[in-house]
Subunit: 408 residues, 2 copies
């Protein structure tokens, strides 16, 4: 049982066959299209909610035939946690954090990779490659290990050290490159023919987006089919934002939503790397490359995104916005937001917390809104952002309680 | 609604009042006792299984009044993942990994801390302290932040760097000490009066064990109330093993188990720090301090455990064993087990994989058994164990595909 009808070029609507492995059309991404009427007849929303609490409960809305076992590490539904202190701090009514660090490998990247590797495995792929500036490389490596595939990962040399070594731990051939993610992507493209690997880069194959879509499906169900008013989402390659917006369209067509309006989608970047926010401000549908891109939020250090128009379309259709926050706020916002919530807030999400404050101050938000922020990965994976000198106690000396009281 | 009847000294059975905050009795731990007959009348096992998929679904078997909100970060049920390659590698029939890295803060320590901090919060505690050689300090810091409590964490100076900095990120006053966890514990004890903090050390208060107990409750339910035959568990302070064994006793008394026998509990340590394995071999009920304790599996670098007799009693009652594995195998087993499963296997769990091989070779295991190994935390939190030199590519030079093919 599989409800996929075809693949569709996002740039010009060309139909492509979904029964073979596809990549891009005119160098731009593909949508997976479904027989939504068929799904509607086959299953209802309450039946989905009663299934095992993993992203695979939404099987009819995913591209893998339900007779085929996915390459899975058990992608449990991530919790959405009410954070009243965060709301108070920002001067808004209600803020929830959806904590994606609770997925395999500690980040939201697992959603896309379980789906993409499941499909690649189904189509007989034995070797995959991708560029990654953060959590994607690790996620790909672990799912490739689970599938018994070879993986090649190319990372900027200043990728967080944990991301570098987790990919290697999982057995991926992991390389550091003196450049940014787009330079790493060029190596993957160049090697496609020589190395016979399948390119798992963001939006270079149609299925990672379908995995990410489950963030939107889960959110709908967790809020009893009434979507939140605003979603703040850190934007690198944009698959998550695009995927969620696609989920909301599909849920609308299925008639499963009880809310009248869809959420305003807010794309958040750092002013150290803000191609989408700039294009939004300039009224453009396509972004230009952000020169000398840099941010400690490595996952959103993506100077050029192949799905730029898809992100910008979603933001505009939703009545949302795209915003760049000051780079220098990110580390301190990680601390304040973690302490306000008890959740290990990653740097990309800390940018969203800055955006929340900024939009609240500007009056862009209203006080009757339910706001959701995605914590895309575990803060523990960012040693570079959490490292700080710690006070030392010599146990052979008498204890200085004043020093201990003050923490220094 | 609360089914706790009293607290009971584990060393001599003395009854203590459960309506006030207790610590230890004669320096030894306390059990929480319940009106199991009352629970049996009030709820059945299928009702529990239908509740939200968090450890709080077992509310009747936990010490917090069900009218009181726990200090929680949404402790979702952790998946138990079938790992056929691991079974093949070890020459056994069936191995499952229960992946505790999927809890808040990326480790099993969250189970104990959500429970202990909820109870401390209920009893009005405003400041907590603990020694930690690994994940416990971080977990305590995050739950303390969630509760708005002050936390003081004392760690050996060679504690994994991620554990050090996660505690500080969450706002705990975090100190490095030139010693081992028992030296850190001495500071916490010495400060109790001067600093007016509550001691959250392993088994120095009765509730962390009740949180850890949920590992056993989940396992029972996940295997349809038929417990596995063997459980391999890495042992530092031992709360997890003790807690699970307590869960199995309570489930037996409730009549909820369909299996005839309880699992054989295997306590796993490194030969770099093996007080429990030594005491087991020597036929002792109490362990002696392991001098110059060292292992890269920092979570089991506990040279003296206050609950030693509780661990050894559980191991013996269950027909299990206690085993020390060669320290030098741990890092390589992390790699092989991670690659065989796709799960980020931590050093403590890698010791269990070594033990699995060893017990299989010795003929201690039989080929009709279902074996469960606990992955107690995310491998990504152990930079020191996963760090390795990675090959570098200069993007300004022509690509060397042979170098890339071979990963070096």
């Amino acid at each position: 049982m599989r409800f996929v009808t075809h693949l569709e070029s996002a740039i010009d609507g060309t139909r492509l066959d979904a029964n073979q492995l596809q990549t891009v059309h005119q160098d731009r991404p593909l949508w997976v299209r479904y027989d939504l009427e068929g799904i509607k007849k086959h299953v209802d929303r309450d039946a989905l909610a009663a299934r095992e609490a993993t992203m695979w409960r939404y099987r009819e809305l995913l591209p893998l035939d339900d007779q085929v076992s996915p390459v899975s590490l058990c992608e449990t539904i991530t919790p959405v946690i009410n954070c009243p202190q965060l709301a108070t701090d920002a001067g808004v009514r209600e803020v929830w954090v959806k904590d994606e660090s609770r997925l395999p490998t500690g980040s939201f990247k697992s959603r896309g990779m379980t789906m993409a590797i499941s499909m690649a495995h189904f189509f007989g792929v034995r070797r995959v490659a991708l560029p990654s500036a953060g959590n994607a490389g690790g996620a790909a490596a672990f799912y490739a290990a689970r599938a018994g595939m070879e993986a090649y990962v190319f990372m900027p040399e200043d990728t967080p050290v944990i991301n570098q070594h987790e990919a290697a731990l999982a057995g991926a051939r992991t390389f550091l490159v003196n450049g940014l993610i787009n330079h790493c992507g060029a190596i993957v493209r160049e090697g496609a023919e020589k190395m016979q690997w399948f390119d798992l880069s963001t939006l270079k194959e149609p299925y990672r987006i379908e995995g990410k879509k489950t963030m939107g499906l889960e959110l709908a169900q967790q809020f009893q089919w009434k979507l939140p008013d605003v979603i703040l989402y850190p934007t690198g390659g944009g698959t998550g934002l695009i995927g969620m917006w696609k989920a909301f369209q599909e849920l609308t067509q299925l008639g499963w939503l009880d809310s009248k309006r869809l959420p305003k989608m807010v794309s958040v970047q750092s002013d150290g790397c803000a191609p989408i926010a700039r294009a939004y401000d300039d009224g453009e549908r396509f972004a230009t490359l952000h020169e000398n891109a840099d941010t400690i939020a490595r996952g959103i250090r993506v100077p050029a995104a192949v799905g730029d128009f898809m992100i910008l379309d979603a933001v505009r259709e939703s009545g949302g916005t795209a915003i760049a926050v000051p780079e220098e706020q990110i580390v301190s916002r990680m601390q304040t937001a973690t302490r306000a919530t008890g959740i290990a807030i990653c740097p990309e999400t800390a940018a969203c917390i800055s955006a929340l404050d900024q939009l609240s101050k500007q009056g862009w938000l209203s006080d009757d809104q339910r706001i959701v922020v995605f914590n895309t990965g575990a803060a523990q994976k960012y040693l570079e952002a959490i490292e700080q000198p710690l006070p030392v106690i010599d146990r052979h000396q008498p204890l200085d309680w004043e020093f201990i009281e003050n923490g220094r």
